[in-house]
Structures are given as C-alpha cells and as structure tokens.
C-alpha cells in the first residue's frame, strides 16, 4: 500500500515533498526472518546481538550516542547493553529470559530472539527456538563445544529449526588460531550430523570487535566463508507451507446476522478455495466451502498463515478443536501418540497429576503418559528411563482420553506440535512434537469409564447445549477429576459434537 492516499487537511500544505517521498517508500516489507541466538553463559551472546544491531540496524541516534558516551578507555562501545533488560538480570549478570529485538534491513524485517545461556533457563531457550527460522549458536573459542552446545543443538532439532550457524566467538583471545577454529568446527559437525538440520555452518568471529560479523576480518585470511550478516541475509523468511495438505484448526465459531455461522481460524498449511470440499476428521463429516469471509471482503481462496472465517454449505456443528482438511489428505484422529518432549517444568513429571494435551486448538486429557527414553547429552544416544525432570529431552508414549486431529511434526509443523498442560495449575509443563500418531494405543483396554454427554447433561452440564464451549470445559474437568482418582475415562461424544 503506497502512501499518498491520505487527505489530511493540513497535509496539503505542510508535508514536504521530501517527507512524501520517504513515506512513499514505506511499503510493507517482504517478509519476516526470526533469528535465535543461544550459547553458554559468558559466550558473548549479548555482545554478538548488540553488534548485529549496531552494524545492521537503524538504531535510534540517542541510543547510539548513549553507548558511545558510556564506552570505556578503549573507546569500544559495550554493545551488549542494547540487550540486557531486566534489573534482576543486570544484578546477576545473566540473561534470564528471551528478549525480542526487531530491525529492518533491506526489504525484510529481522527479529532477534535472544535466549538465555544459563542451563537453569533452558526452557526459555526452547521456547524461543520454537519461533526461529535460523539459529546462531555461540561457542567461546577458548572453551570449545560443551554439554550446553549439545543440549541446544538437540533442542533446535526437536523444535524444528532447520538452519544453524555456530559462531566461534572471542577469536581475538586465541590469537585468531586457525587450527583451534577448525578443531571446534569439526567437533560441531559431529554433533550436527546427528540431527536433521538442512544447513550447519561454522564461522570465526569477534563479537566485541566486529570481525566477520558485518565485514570480513583481516585477522582471518584463512576463512573464505560468508560473514554472519551475509548468512542471515540469505536466510529464507518463514516457509509458507502452501504446498502441503490443507489444514484449518478451528479456533472459535462466529455468528452474524440470522443465518451466518462461520468457523474462525488461521490456515495452518495448504490452500482452500470457495467450493472446495472439506472434511472434519473428528465427526467424520464433509461439507463444501461456501464463503471465506474477512472484514476486508470475501476471498476466493486462503492459504497458510491467513486468518479467515470459513462458512460451510451445510452446518457441521463443529467447534473449537476441529481441524478442517481436504477429504483426500486427512489428519490422523489419534488416541495414542509417540512424541519427543522437552520437559520445561521446575518439578519432574508426576503422572498422578491431571495432564492435558494442547494441540493447535484442541485440549484433551491424557489417560496415561509413559517415558521410554532420554537423550544423553554427552553421547547424544538414547538411554532407557521411566522418569523425566527439568530440561530433559525424552521420548514418551501418550494415551489420550479423547481423540485429537493431528499430523506428524515432520509432515506438518503446525499440526504436529503440542504442549502438555497441568490441569490444576494451568502451567505449561512440556513442549513436544509428534513422531507417530495412531487411532488407539495397544495398552488401552475396554474397561475405560465412558463419560457420555447424556450423563453430563443430567447434572453438571444441565441447561447447556452440548455444543457450548462451557459444556465441553465442564466435561473436561469431570474427566480430569475422575482420572486423578485413578479412573480410566473415555469421553463418548454425542452426534454432532466435535
């Protein structure tokens, strides 16, 4: 959208030609690239990001001048001050939480997700990583690859980051040693080849001095690769998965006028057009798309990333948690899931707690969870265990008290990721990705207590329609309480309920 359409009354006389020319260039940008930075404590991560902002972004002049004024005797501004925000952090000298920074370069928006170095806050790193398109891992040239580096690589792989850069920092402190750099790069390669990264590169830098960040370093004539900015600059924006199967997780139902009932959601993948047949896996019903509505007018089609309202030609009575797909490429309606998890909670897994599985828009109780193996961060091998605690990466088998529509994470990022939620406190306990999903688990017997809509409607949900979200919420609560009392609960949904 170009500028110049405004009709501000004073604008006719006051806006200079120069200002109008500037505003005219203020088109929407072409895309957004999210960059995660991670490393161990004191690897110089904040300094590296500060350096990126200093070199590549249009920092406000007051901020720039402030840092120049505060520079020490060597005259080098401490660019890390651009990052460390909270008082609690400054007092401890560590970054306790992910910080988001935004800058525009060229025709794109760059988002830097600065994640904590301290092992105690690995969960925050996992959280940040799940949003990233590319990750910069920092390694201190003096210390090389550490346990934390392996942990971070494993988490990046788990949450689906495909591009990683290892920045071997503080090269100035080891006299720009080529052999040391190559040793670290080789160590890193043995880690990354274990995972499914599409690209993994190493480069020697000094974040403090700027070498190989924006400009090529005179100290590393032996390094022929790209600078950090060059690598970031060619990173693709978030991949729009228009090629893969259509998935539309329903967020909420919207009504308008007398006969409009629309399903609101964001297209998770693929494309849908007016007239397309769509299928709801949970109710096993099919309809055709009548309208794709937005406040800016109806659309002929909607593709991945677009937030729309879909109206169907027959009222399927689907609600939040349903996933519309095309009838010939449907998600799995799963009761049993094999998953990889990163355990985020402070306390270890306590299987006696009521747990909920939160998928794209659905929330269902677990009937059981069994930890099968843990990733050993020294060997990167899986070892058999049955428990898990903070920061562990494990493989687990989940049985669900109610079916959910999902895909394997490898097939569909939006449909294959989930979090585990503590039913009582609401806390997010773990993040996970689906490895396999099946209709029914082998261990699930026929002795489950079946909680029917009829039962619920007699008492706890009296007076509520079964399509009412409050009905559903109460049903979940009852299931959770029963489960906490040791009863295996299955929900038998009435016809028309999703």
């Amino acid at each position: 959208m170009a500028a110049g359409a405004g009709t501000g009354q004073a604008g006719m006389t006051m806006a200079s030609d120069e200002a109008r020319a500037l505003a005219a260039t203020l088109r929407d940008l072409d895309g957004i690239v999210r960059i995660l930075t991670c490393g161990s404590v004191d690897d110089g991560k904040s300094t590296l990001i500060g350096r990126l902002l200093w070199e590549a972004s249009d920092l406000p002049e007051d901020t720039r001048q402030g840092l120049i004024r505060q520079a020490g005797p060597d005259g080098i501004p401490d660019v890390s001050l651009l990052l460390d925000g909270l008082v609690a952090e400054r007092e401890q000298g560590i970054t306790i939480d992910i910080a988001w920074r935004y800058f525009d370069a060229g025709r794109r928006r760059f988002v830097v997700i600065d994640s904590p170095g301290h092992e105690q806050y690995t969960r925050n790193m996992a959280s940040g990583a799940s949003h990233a398109d590319i990750a910069i891992m920092l390694v201190d040239a003096r210390h090389g690859v550490k346990r934390q580096t392996r942990r971070h690589a494993a988490i990046l792989d788990l949450v689906g980051v495909k591009r990683v850069v290892v920045a071997v920092n503080k090269m100035d402190l080891i006299d720009w040693s080529q052999s040391r750099f190559e040793e670290i790069a080789a160590d890193f390669a043995t880690i990354t080849e274990r995972f499914a990264f599409e690209e993994a590169v190493a480069l020697p830098v000094s974040a403090k001095l700027g070498d190989n960040v924006a400009g090529r370093s005179a100290h590393t004539p032996w390094y022929a690769g790209e600078t950090l900015l060059e690598i970031i600059d060619r990173a693709p924006s978030r991949i729009i998965e228009s090629g893969s199967a259509f998935r539309f997780p329903v967020q909420t139902v919207l009504r308008g006028g007398t006969d409009f009932r629309g399903l609101a959601g964001t297209v998770a993948s693929g494309v849908v057009r007016v007239g397309d047949p769509v299928f709801d896996g949970l109710s096993r019903r099919q309809a055709n798309v009548r309208r794709i509505a937005t406040m800016d007018g109806d659309l002929e089609q909607a593709s991945a990333g677009q937030a729309v309202v879909v109206q169907l030609d027959t009222d399927l009575d689907v609600a939040r948690g349903a996933v519309l797909s095309s009838p010939d490429a449907v998600p799995v309606v799963a009761r049993a899931i094999e998953a990889r998890l990163v355990w985020l909670a402070d306390s270890p897994l306590d299987a006696s707690h009521g747990l909920l599985l939160r998928t794209a828009t659905d929330l269902v109780p677990l009937s059981s969870i069994a930890i099968r193996a843990r990733l050993d961060l020294e060997t990167l091998q899986e070892t058999a265990v049955s428990s898990c605690s903070t920061n562990d990466i494990v493989i687990a088998d989940l049985s669900l008290a109610q079916a959910v529509a999902v895909d394997r994470f490898a097939d569909n990022r939006e449909m294959g990721a989930f979090v585990l939620v503590d039913a009582l406190t609401g806390a997010t306990l773990a993040g996970g990705v689906i490895v396999t999903a099946a209709a029914r688990s082998a261990s699930e017997g026929n002795d489950a207590f079946v909680l029917t809509n009829e039962m619920l409607a007699r008492g706890v949900c009296a007076g509520l329609a079964s399509s009412d979200p409050e009905f559903r919420r109460r049903a979940q609560e009852v299931a959770i309480i029963l489960r906490a009392a040791g009863v295996t609960v299955a929900r038998d949904k009435g016809p028309g309920e999703s």
């Binding site: 006051m14 929407d28 919207l254």
Partner: protein
Amino acid sequence: MTRVFSHLDALEAESIHIFREAAAQFRKPVLLYSIGKDSTVLLHLARKAFYPQKPPFPLLHVDTTWKFRDMIAFRDKTARELGLELLIHTNTAGAEKGVDPVRFAPSLYTDVMKTQALKQALDLHGFDAAFGGARRDEEASRAKERVFSFRSPGHRWEPRKQRPEMWRLLNGRLGTGESARVFPLSNWTERDVWRYLLREKLDVVPLYFAADRPTITRGGQILVLDDDRLPLAEGETVVTRRVRFRTLGCWPLTAAIESDAADIESVVAETLSARTSERQGRLIDHDQTGAMERKKQEGYF
C-alpha cells in the same frame, strides 16, 4: 485480486489469531483501551478478528482525569460509532485524596491513578484477561514479555515464572487466582503501527499531528498545557510552538516534540527517520532505574 503476503499481513494475521485464542480460552476478557495509536490498531484488529460479530468483550478505559481533552472526545466518538460497550474507571479514592501529577512524584501518581485503578477495575468486573497494546520494541522489560502474560493473585508480574510459549500454541488455562494480560501487538514495531494506520486509513487522536499549541519547557522537555491545572514555576512562560506527540498519556507527564508533520504521511516519514526512541517522551519511565520493570511487577500494564 491476490495480494502478496507482506510482513504487515503476517503481523495482522498473527494478531487476529491471538485475539481469537484468548476469546476462546478466557471466561471474561476486556480490551484495555487507552485511546492512543496502539489502542486504535488493537481495536481495529479486534474488529477484524471477530467479524462479522462485534468483539465479544467491552472496552475499558482507566481515566486518570488528566488525559488530554482531545483524547476523551476521541474515545467517546470511537465507542459510539462502533457501537461498543465502553467502561470507564477512575480511582475515585485517589482522586478524592488529590493525587495528581502536579504535586506528586510521577511514580506515586502512576501507581495510584493507573496501576491501582486498573486493578480495581479488573477486580470490580471480574475480568480474567485484559488485552493491551504493549509492544516488545517499546522498552527493555517489555522485550521479554509473553503474548499471554500471567499475573499471580494481586496482579503481580513475576518475570521468573512466565510460562514458556512454544510455536503458536497459546496456553490460556489459569491457575487459582491467576489472570492474564494478552498482547496481540507483541511483535509489532512503532513503524509497523504507523504503516498500518496509513494502510488501513485509520483515524487517530489529532494530538499526533503537528499544530500550534500552548507549551512550556520543563526539565528539557516540551509540555503542552491542556487546561489551567498546571501552575507555572518561576521563569516559565507559555510559548506557542508547533508540536506533536509520539505517544499519549496524562498531559503533564507527556512530552511533545517540535515537528511540522501535520498529516499521517508526514508523521510516518518522520518516524522512518526517527533519531530518538519513542518512550523518551514518557516522563514516568525516566523516574528511576528499571522504572517500567518495577511498575510491571506491581501490576502496571
């Protein structure tokens, strides 16, 4: 016509997604409407998120009684034209005790008339979630905010206990006594807000545009006199200057900048070449080190 999916399209879709996630999960949300440009964008996105319904929540304005008159007029006109329920809350106990930004330190005034007032209003109506227009690019402590930001009983923000937010999964399940703040504009920058106002042709309070206004200078900042409640110190004289605001708040605490940008294109152009960070105009943030972080821990939005 197929339009390229630009970065603003992506931000808009993300914000709509957040609005819908919150409305589906929280029992009784409210939109904190503070009249400024961010609130204008926030409200516009809320309308888009629930179209063809109206947003399924009211607007709440915490009125300190020291907002610019233009802001109040704009607020009332907006609610009326869009047919939305507008709740207005003032900390009357604070107002009766005469807590004002003239005689009291900005931190105390803000605590009583904004932070406490907000808590009162949320408790009074039993809201379990409040949408706000805060952006992560505004200030260091906001750079760490979640999209769903949880508050323990008493509305306290505990930075160490924030829930991890992974992928696009927003977990809105509340623990006992918890409430949430929801920030649909988390990933927007000030420039994006202006770009979007321009693109969507949205009206904003006229104070954002340069005009000749009665001003004084105090502490190196330009203040616009909105009425006669601010006594002048010795040596201060009222001077007409051509000024505008980058951010709006209580008028004795909000500094103006000298500018000729009298329409939205000019403001956008000026913002594009901005040489100072936005919150420099908010005097309360300069009050003490870590001011915003402390205010947030105490429950300021």
